[in-house]
């Protein structure tokens, strides 16, 4: 009896703690909208049925049955896109601040500065997610519904998490965790290596060390091998999936030389690499095309500090920012190189779409910009079965806008994230928008 009561109690507690966002959300049918599924041609006068967090059906009005239990959303005048994916959002990770440099701290001789030693591969963006209701709301109303929350620290920064901005708990938001190991060419403070060239040498050494550590481990586990077990190394353990087993490694690259550094490490060490940042990637287009490495392009158009564009005076730098760097994506497209567009390097992640519009003005076709926010990042991050287009069975992340999203001034009216509806209220000066029905808690 006692044990049975215990079980019931446990089940009750479990039910309380269980994710509930999707459970009480009704089914919706958006009727009469224009759908841009990205995976296929646009559909006029369409119906999309959303149920249980997924797209149940989508198609032209006569072909799709509107279920009797679905709440009808009038889609007249609205264009529906798949939710946009920001595949490098650093702003949503709370990175512990580094200690201020001590006047007595001298590179390489003081004890390593904790947290600034570049050895934090186990640092999880999930555990340090800084995506509260306000941050989520700000991104959602630009159409960004999925973000790769990416840690930016030194060298081995940590691991990213892919989340849907569904207003739920961090656990409810996760699409995949961890996604990738994040690497910077910024050296450590108070520890080897302090330079970018040192980071590269260290990376190569660690690839060798991780392989030998594993060999030693498996040899020593064999009966009578005569090989002593290696000393447990949590650092190598943490890196091994990425350095040895093909889990993705994302290199943060500012400037063309860093892109080339990343390409050399990726090819030389055989890791599955992605290049993030790269706002002057067009300058190394040949190398990128040959390497076939996915690009998570920044839409921050400021020339990197080492670039010649940044060294010819303020005026030339501003001109380059306005006229040259926004053309990065268009040139890559012309060179046949696929990319995602991300908020890498932007002060505010919510500026992503405004910057993407500048890339479009600089010659990037709208449908390419759309792919760079949907199917391409989904494929690069290995979630194209769930995200990136509007198809039955995929996650119901939908952006409903009053017209063409790339047109200046087009308003986003409504969003679905994991099938949950959010309405976008007009910004009121001096006050936050009231919480959307079903949103925020």
């Amino acid at each position: 009896m006692k044990s049975r009561l215990g079980f019931v109690l446990l089940a009750f507690v479990a039910a309380l703690a269980a994710p509930s966002a999707a459970a009480w959300e009704p089914a919706y049918a958006v009727v009469g909208c224009r759908v841009v599924p990205v995976s296929g041609p646009p559909i006029e006068d369409a119906v999309i049925v959303v149920r249980d967090g997924l797209v149940e059906s989508v198609g032209p009005r006569p072909a799709v049955r509107v279920p009797g239990d679905a709440e009808i959303v009038d889609g007249k005048g609205l264009t529906v896109y798949p939710g946009f994916i920001d595949a490098f959002a650093a702003g949503l990770v709370q990175v512990p601040p580094e200690p201020k440099p001590d006047p007595g701290e001298f590179l390489g001789t003081a004890p390593p500065v904790k947290g600034a030693d570049g050895r934090t591969p186990e640092f999880g963006a999930y555990e340090h997610l800084a995506a509260g209701a306000v941050e989520q709301e700000a991104l959602r109303k630009t159409g960004v519904l999925t973000v790769l929350a990416a840690p930016r620290r030194r060298m081995f920064s940590g691991r990213s998490v892919l989340v849907n901005l569904n207003g739920g708990s961090p656990a409810e938001m996760v699409v995949r965790n961890p996604v990738a190991l994040h690497v910077e060419f910024t050296g450590a403070r108070g520890a080897y290596p302090t330079t970018g060239m040192g980071v590269q040498a260290f990376f190569r050494q660690l690839c060798l060390d991780a392989a030998r550590y594993r060999t030693a481990g498996s040899l020593s586990a064999g009966r009578g091998s005569g090989v002593r077990r290696p000393v447990y190394d949590p650092f190598l353990e943490s890196l091994s999936p990425y350095l040895l087993d093909g889990a993705p490694v994302i290199f943060a690259c500012d400037g063309q030389e860093e892109i080339k550094k990343a390409l050399r490490l990726i090819a030389g060490c055989g890791v599955r690499g992605l290049v993030a940042g790269a706002n002057e990637a067009w300058r190394v287009a040949d190398a990128l095309r040959a390497a076939g490495i996915p690009l998570l392009l920044s839409v921050n158009f400021a020339p990197p500090a080492l670039s010649i564009y940044a060294q010819r005076g303020k005026e030339a730098k501003e001109t380059a920012e306005k006229e040259t760097y926004p053309g990065n994506a268009a040139r890559l497209k012309a060179a046949g190189i696929p990319f995602a567009l991300t908020s890498y390097g932007l002060e505010k992640g919510a500026d992503l779409m405004a910057q993407v519009r500048k890339a479009v003005q600089a010659g990037l076709a709208e449908d390419e910009a759309l792919k760079a926010l949907t199917v391409h990042p989904a494929r690069f991050l290995g979630v194209d079965g769930q995200l990136g287009s509007i198809e039955p069975g995929k996650i119901a992340n939908l952006v409903l806008s009053a017209g063409d999203i790339f047109k200046e001034g087009t308003k986003v009216r409504m969003l679905f994230v994991d099938g949950r509806r959010f309405e976008v209220k007009e910004d009121k000066p001096g006050g936050a928008a009231p919480p959307a029905p079903g949103g925020g808690r």
Partner: protein
């Protein structure tokens, strides 16, 4: 957009064919040829002589009244790099300046304005055993990897003396070494480690080849730093050592004999004049400043006659800028060896052309004007050792990378355009 890009690449640096007419050619290795032509085709000098004809379409530069010299070679600098010193450790042979190239360092262009076409750009002197260096042709506007001279000796930076001691002097730290003997001990220790490392791998390879070997054979740890030092012991990676005082310079020569490594050149070597016979006997050259000394205590006994005195005694001498402002006037530096020590003009020019090329193993490619060598040429308005000399044009492998006239013309045009642009802003003209 296209126009902005064009600024990055010299518009005329496309062909590698060029005919320089009517110059006074200072070949450096084969004397002076008055009123002569240099024909460069496909980046290579095809002929030097009088009355050469250019194939159709080849650009002709009239250098009448001007002096053509080999592109200058700065043997020790720190330009075109994003990182100089890996200070995270005292022994860092695994780091490589090839991983730190910066093709858009404007100092590349500054060097071109002084006729420099080739540099040996180096790791810094904070560590007794630093990182690997790299030799570059200063092809401004080209990607970094196109600048690398793959035929040059691979070199690694060693350093002695105060920079190692004082890099971490203030505030006081517990970094080892803090003395000259500590530096020597570290070099010996590390190279002995590398020797043991090589032996460990030899034992492993032998064990692996043995068919009776036991089941579990774990390879030794592959250590990229020790791999580099093993290459030093094998003579595949040559040492360039930063050194000042004669006693420690001799000490480095002794270490190289003791441990069996090759020194490509001793850098700074401000007391080399005291030990010229020893340097000649060891067959080791030096790369020095022309007349810079007493900038710290360990250089107090430096003299301006160092380069000339050593060269006259048969030491292979080159001059360098160390990345200082001299990088733009290396020809003035060479002239100082005439002034201080009376080196003949041709020998003084060797200090910044063929000698550094020999020190880096590229004297078959560059460093003098000879048929078959790469077309690296600097054109001066006067003899380059003349106090009033200035470089007019710098050519690398037949491509013009600096042209003073063009620079001045473009600046004038830009200033005029800017002025014209500023006018419509409603400013009153007086």
């Amino acid at each position: 957009m296209g126009a902005v890009l064009a600024l990055l690449v010299p518009a005329f640096a496309v062909a590698q064919d060029l005919l320089i007419k009517n110059a006074t050619v200072l070949t450096v290795t084969q004397g002076t040829l008055p009123n002569s032509d240099i024909l460069i085709l496909g980046g290579v000098i095809r002929g030097i002589g009088e009355g050469l004809e250019a194939p159709k379409g080849v650009r002709v530069i009239d250098a009448a009244g001007r002096f053509a010299v080999p592109g200058l070679f700065d043997s020790h600098t720190h330009i075109a790099l994003t990182d100089i010193n890996e200070m995270g450790a005292t022994v860092t042979p695994e780091v490589d300046e090839a991983d730190a190239l910066n093709a858009e360092d404007v100092r590349i262009y500054y060097c071109l304005t002084g006729g420099v076409t080739t540099v040996h750009t180096m790791h810094g002197s904070a560590n007794p055993i630093g990182g690997r260096n790299i030799t570059l042709k200063l092809k401004w506007g080209r990607p970094a990897e196109e600048m690398v001279v793959p035929q040059a000796y691979p070199t690694i930076k060693f350093a002695q003396g105060e920079n190692i001691k004082q890099s971490y002097y203030n505030p006081p730290t517990d970094r080892y070494p803090k003395s000259r003997m500590g530096v020597a001990a570290i070099v010996r220790r590390e190279l002995l480690r590398a020797r043991a490392y090589m032996e460990e791998w030899d034992r492993y390879e032998a064990a692996k080849a043995n068919p009776e070997r036991p089941g579990g054979l774990l390879p030794p740890r592959k250590d990229l730093g020790l791999e580099a030092l093993a290459d030093v012991l094998r003579g595949k990676l040559l040492v360039r050592c930063h050194t000042y005082k004669a006693d420690e310079t001799l000490e480095m020569l002794a270490l190289s004999r003791e441990l069996g490594f090759k020194i490509a050149c001793l850098d700074h070597a401000s007391e080399a004049f005291k030990i010229a016979p020893e340097l000649v006997a060891a067959g080791v050259g030096i790369s020095v400043f022309a007349d810079s000394w007493s900038y710290k205590l360990e250089t107090a006994e430096g003299i301006a006659h160092n380069a000339a005195a050593c060269a006259k005694k048969g030491v292979l001498v080159s001059l360098n800028s160390d990345g200082g402002p001299q990088m733009q006037y290396m020809f003035n530096e060479a002239a100082k060896a005439v002034k201080f020590g009376g080196l003949p003009a041709d020998d003084a020019l060797k200090l910044i052309t063929i000698n550094p090329a020999i020190q880096l193993g590229v004297d078959k490619l560059t460093g003098s004007l000879e048929a078959g060598k790469q077309g690296d040429v600097a054109i001066f308005n006067a003899h380059p050792l003349d106090s009033y000399a200035r470089c007019e044009m710098t050519i690398i492998e037949g491509e013009v990378y600096f042209d003073r006239d063009r620079d001045i013309r473009e600046r004038t045009e830009k200033a005029a355009a800017d002025k014209a642009k500023a006018k419509p802003k409603g400013r009153k003209e007086d």
